[in-house]
Amino acid sequence: MTEKHEHTAERHLRKKHLMLDPLPRGQMNAMVMESMHATSWKFWVVFAVLAAITAWGLFYSWGVLMLDGLGMAGVNRPSYWGIFLVNTVFWIGISHAGTFISAILRVFKAEFRRPFTRAAELMTTFGLIQAGFSILMHMGRVWLAYWLLPYPNQRQLWPNVHSPLTWDLLAITTYLLASTMYLFLPLIPDLAMARDRSTGWRKTFYKILALGFRGTEGEWTHLRTAMNIFAFAIIPVMFSVHTIVSWDFAMATRPGWSSTVFGPYFVIGALHSGMGAVVVVLAIVRATMKHMDYFIRTEHFEAIGKLMLIISMGWGYFFFNDYIVQWYGGDVWTKQLLHWHEAGPLGWMWFAMLIFNVLIPWLVLWNRTWRSNPWIMLTVGLLINVGMWLERYIIIPISLTINRMPFTWRMYEPGIEIPLGIGTLAFFILLYLIASRLIPLVPVWEVQEGQMAHSLKKVGRETVVTVAELE
């Protein structure tokens, strides 16, 4: 009886936890390789559609925008910034998830991270690319964007170190490079694995990318050390990026923007949308790619769900913190702005933001069964992303309507931003699609390492999971 019970408990644990359900490495390798190779006609249909949307929405529309000027977009006086900046902040926010999962969770040795660090890091890099596109689209004369880089030139001019945009440029560049490198380092062993198992052009491709990695002691040591340095160093970089993004707003002398709490408020908002996006990606990857249900299990959704709940609470806290200070301050313009947020023609956005970002996560995520369900998590993740996009929309074009010159107050109506925004989204998914066929989405060696470290232990009558600290 007890034995049987124990056995069930153990089986249950093994079924639930990837780390307790090891497969031989070779088999896992084969599964991951197969997930990359198994490409049905549906994939190509989706690929073609996305490629078409990207070509039209992103590149063609951008060409039009550059040729005809920003009048094609909906920006005007006083909403000089519009959806381009909304999208920039949104994509940078999304990109925070990757670092959060692979760096913070790595530092704190949260074992559930192992199978999906790569998927999250890819989001970081691809999200930052979209953010970069979005901010370049926003520029009136994008062909001169290189003037913002610090390099010696005959004009003898350097970028203005007082401008939050210069800080932004430095921070985003740092973050993009760092997160790309951080994506690449743990990928090297997996590329070597893929190299050993491919033929034809893929072999060449992996061979070049794997750089000749074999897995010697020295290589592993250098890699591990570097990854450790990255894991610790990229966390402050990540925080700095979104803080600086928030300073683009907080440094301005505008009602509603000039807020000291904007830094952490933006960071937590970024994590909020990032985690939402991770969940969406995981649910889709799990449902569409072969063998992924082995690697990505309900435990992962459950764990991320918990994180999302905490982050949602944190977001609510910071939102309220920002709100009440502004509300209490009694500045006449800020009062008008808050009134405009809630009771203006786009007041529904404000309420939708609160419902999506706070109400729905709080209602759903407390329940273990619900948050273990990928489809429920997918929905919540999507809603959170919508909510966070609306938050940025409220902060940028809606808040820009109200300034200290009431004679200029005017609503913002998006124009070519919409195809361009759709284009960035399509390009993001497209990049992900391509990556899913070229890059092992699951870091197999990390999973194997985790499986080695996990074992079951009996404490009294109960079977519990133990983890050995291998490093």
Partner: protein, 720 residues
């Protein structure tokens, strides 16, 4: 484009070449490289990269403001006011500033055209020799009494020549018309002065020295008679004398730009102006303890009821008027545009007389005479225009020459001009722009733009000094145009009936010559060439002392009553757009300059009181149909918080069907709502109209500079 070198050496300017656009500099099309075509011979007084300044006179309206135009390598760059000029003292209005957009307007008529009354500008270009032949034949073959000239308010030298020409040929005198004079009530004012003081001159209201001004309907800061001069007057008044700031009280059914600047705006009902003036006069007389015979029949309470203001207000206003040191009552515009407009004007002048300010500083004068002694030519009233249209319709006019006016746009359609023109055998237009009337001509022989022309303009009102303002070309003609005076002289010579002038310049010289002998002028010169040169250099000739005429003591009876228009829902108040005037619609920058009170750009609107709009369930930007006695127009609504609930107001200036790409097909023309109902002086009673309003269910978003949410103080709701 023309490479013709002008006649006089000092005007030998470069033709205009094509632009070299800068490549990828980011800031091109390079302004300074617009003209790269070099000089053949460098004109005297011109240096590379340096500007040359020419004095001339603004021809955007008939006020005659002096301009100094900055030119640069043969192009006019900027219009500035002539600081010495008595009318504007270095200042300009928005329309004057935008003259250059007329000069370089893309829709100018490029050369003589066989128009053939086509609906659009014909492409049948002809040569000037052919044009001359046609004109000469017309002069030869048309009996003088079957020839008619219709001229605009500017320029005066052309008018003088045509007067001589008509006399020379033995035909009727030319007729002059301008929409502004229609809206100003000019004829009525002159008539009132004639009846009251016995002198047919335009009253001159000395705003600058007054300390309390009651203004009835006169939009003197916008387009009325001489707006720059009156604005200067208001400014001086406001700055105050002995530290006492003058007060302006405006009586108008709608808050016009002038009313918005006023210290008080009193929204009296349209048509009650005469009663209010009379009641004020009676009360003032009572306060001063003098008899006010003319005004005994008016009871202040009745007047207040008619005007829809509290009676106490009237008493209080009268009190202030009676006790003010230098009160002034100003009347014009919509106050005179009633059937009893002449009586209103007379009442106002009489009230001034009662206040003892006629001929006194800060009071009412009569405008200075022209320095050359020529009588000021009066523009035709609508009555005279109606008679003229009758003449055209009867077919007795075989040849009609039109210059400087666009009557098809400026006159109410109900006058039947369009039909009447069909009975004219040949119409020759000298229009610079393809306006509605020009398109109905058989030939267009375009005149130069004002900045390319010689000429002069008599300053009728707006300056204390008697002034003859001079025009000279500041650039060589941009298109293949020809001065109408030159053309007429040449045609007469070819027709074998020459006038004794070799060309336009000689004609002008002959007219300027008498000034040389006058004393007290702004300059003197011993011989003619120097005098002419100085005349052009100074931008005209004017006396240095005050030449305003003292009116004699008033006489005659005044009987005012409430003007009563026929039935309709709302009073209609058409007003001239302060920015566009009557002919600014083809200048893109004027189109984009916001109306001062509503900030609307590029269109026509109808102003409706918020309460009325709410009652009718009409919102901003809803297109409504206004149905007047003579027609209907469709215009978007502007809910205007400062208009009487029983009144609708529509600006005049848009609604062109031609007149270039910026004007055509834009907005609506309220003048077409009106029947030719006149006041006793023959001016159009345009404010004696009631209209009905119908919803169309369509919307048209008016372009406004102002915010739709931010200008009504606290609260963010869309205004009312």
């Amino acid at each position: 484009m023309s490479n013709t070198i002008s006649r006089r050496d000092f005007l030998k300017l470069a033709g205009l070449g094509a632009a070299t656009s800068a490549v990828l500099t980011g800031c091109g099309p390079a302004a300074k490289y617009v003209t790269r075509q070099p000089y053949f011979d460098m004109p005297e007084y011109t240096y590379h990269g340096e500007s040359t300044y020419y004095a001339t006179t603004c021809r955007e309206c008939a006020a005659g403001c002096g301009l100094i135009v900055r030119t640069f390598q043969g192009r006019a760059i900027k219009v500035e006011g002539n600081p010495a000029h008595p009318v504007n003292r270095g200042k300009t209005c928005a329309r004057g500033q935008a003259t250059l957009q007329g000069l370089y307007n893309p829709d100018r008529i490029p050369g003589p055209i066989r128009q053939g009354r086509a609906g659009a500008l014909s492409r049948q270009v002809m040569t000037w020799d052919e044009a001359l032949d046609i004109l000469a034949k017309l002069f030869q073959n048309t009996p003088a009494d079957q020839m008619a000239f219709l001229l605009g308010p500017a320029p005066d030298h052309l008018y003088d020549l045509v007067v001589e020409l008509a006399a020379h040929l033995g035909g009727p005198a030319p007729i002059r018309f301008g929409a502004l004079s229609l809206f100003e009530g000019r004829t009525t004012l002159i008539q009132a002065a004639q009846e009251l003081f016995g002198q047919a001159a335009l009253p001159f209201f000395d705003l600058a020295s007054a300390d309390l001004v009651f203004s009835f309907g006169a939009n003197f800061l916008e387009t009325w008679i001489s707006p720059v001069s009156y604005t200067r007057g208001l400014s001086t008044m406001r700055k105050g004398r002995d530290g006492r700031r003058g007060i302006l009280v405006q009586f108008e059914a709608r808050m016009s730009q002038t009313a918005s600047v006023a210290d008080e705006w009193i929204p009296i009902r349209l048509g009650s102006e005469g009663l209010v003036i009379a009641a004020l006069a009676r009360l003032v007389a009572e306060v001063q303890g003098r008899p006010a015979d003319s005004f005994q029949e008016v009871t202040p309470d009745e007047a207040a009821t008619a005007a829809d203001i509290p009676p106490e207000m009237l008493y209080h206003l009268a009190d202030r008027l009676a006790t003010a040191a230098r009160p002034l009552v100003l009347v014009g515009g919509s106050a005179l545009a009633h059937r009893n407009g002449l009586q209103v004007a007379k009442a106002a002048l009489a009230l001034n007389a009662l206040l003892g300010n006629v001929g006194r500083e800060g009071g009412v004068f009569l405008s200075p005479p022209a320095p050359d002694g020529a009588p000021h030519s009066r523009l035709a009233s609508v009555q005279e225009m109606a008679a003229f249209v009758q003449r055209l319709a009867s077919g007795t006019v075989k040849t009609l020459f039109i210059h400087g006016v666009n009557p098809l746009f400026e006159l109410p359609a109900s006058l039947g001009l369009a039909e009447a023109l069909k009975n004219v055998e040949t119409i020759v237009s000298f229009a610079t722009f393809p306006d509605e009337t020009a398109l109905q001509a058989d030939y267009i022989f375009p005149d130069h733009h004002g900045l390319e022309s010689f000429g002069y303009q008599r300053v009728m009102a707006g300056a204390k000094e008697a002034a003859l303002s001079g025009l000279q070309p500041v650039v060589s003609p941009f298109h293949d145009t020809r001065a109408t005076v030159d053309l007429l002289l040449a045609a007469l010579a070819q027709a074998g009936r020459p006038l004794p002038y070799s060309d336009e310049f000689a004609f002008i010289q002959s007219k300027i010559r008498p000034l040389m002998t006058l004393a007290g002028g702004s300059f003197t010169a011993p011989e003619e060439h120097t005098f002419m040169a100085l005349f052009q250099q100074h931008g005209g000739w004017w006396t240095l002392n005050d030449m305003r005429q003292q009116p004699s003591s008033p006489r005659g009876r005044i009987a005012v009553a409430m003007a009563a228009p026929e039935d309709g829902e709302f009073y209609l108040l058409p007003f001239v757009s302060p920015v566009l005037g009557e002919a600014g619609a083809n200048k893109p920058w004027l189109q984009e300059t916001p109306d001062p009170t509503t900030t609307v750009m590029w269109n026509t609107w109808v102003e409706i009181n918020p309460k009325t709009a709410k009652k009718l369930g009409i919102k901003n930007d809803e297109v409504v149909r206004l149905i007047g006695p003579a027609g209907a127009i469709e215009v978007p609504v502007y809910v205007y918080p400062a208009i009487r609930p029983d009144t609708l107001a529509v600006p005049f200036g848009q609604g062109h069907t031609a007149y270039g790409r910026f004007a055509a097909g834009r907005g609506a023309n309220p003048i077409n709502l009106l029947l030719p109902i006149l006041n006793e002086a023959g001016d159009l009673a345009f404010a004696d109209v009631k209209v009905r309003l119908e919803k169309t269910g369509r919307k048209y978003s008016l372009s406004r500079l102002e915010s739709r949410i931010g200008v009504y103080g606290e609260g963010l709701e869309e205004a009312h």
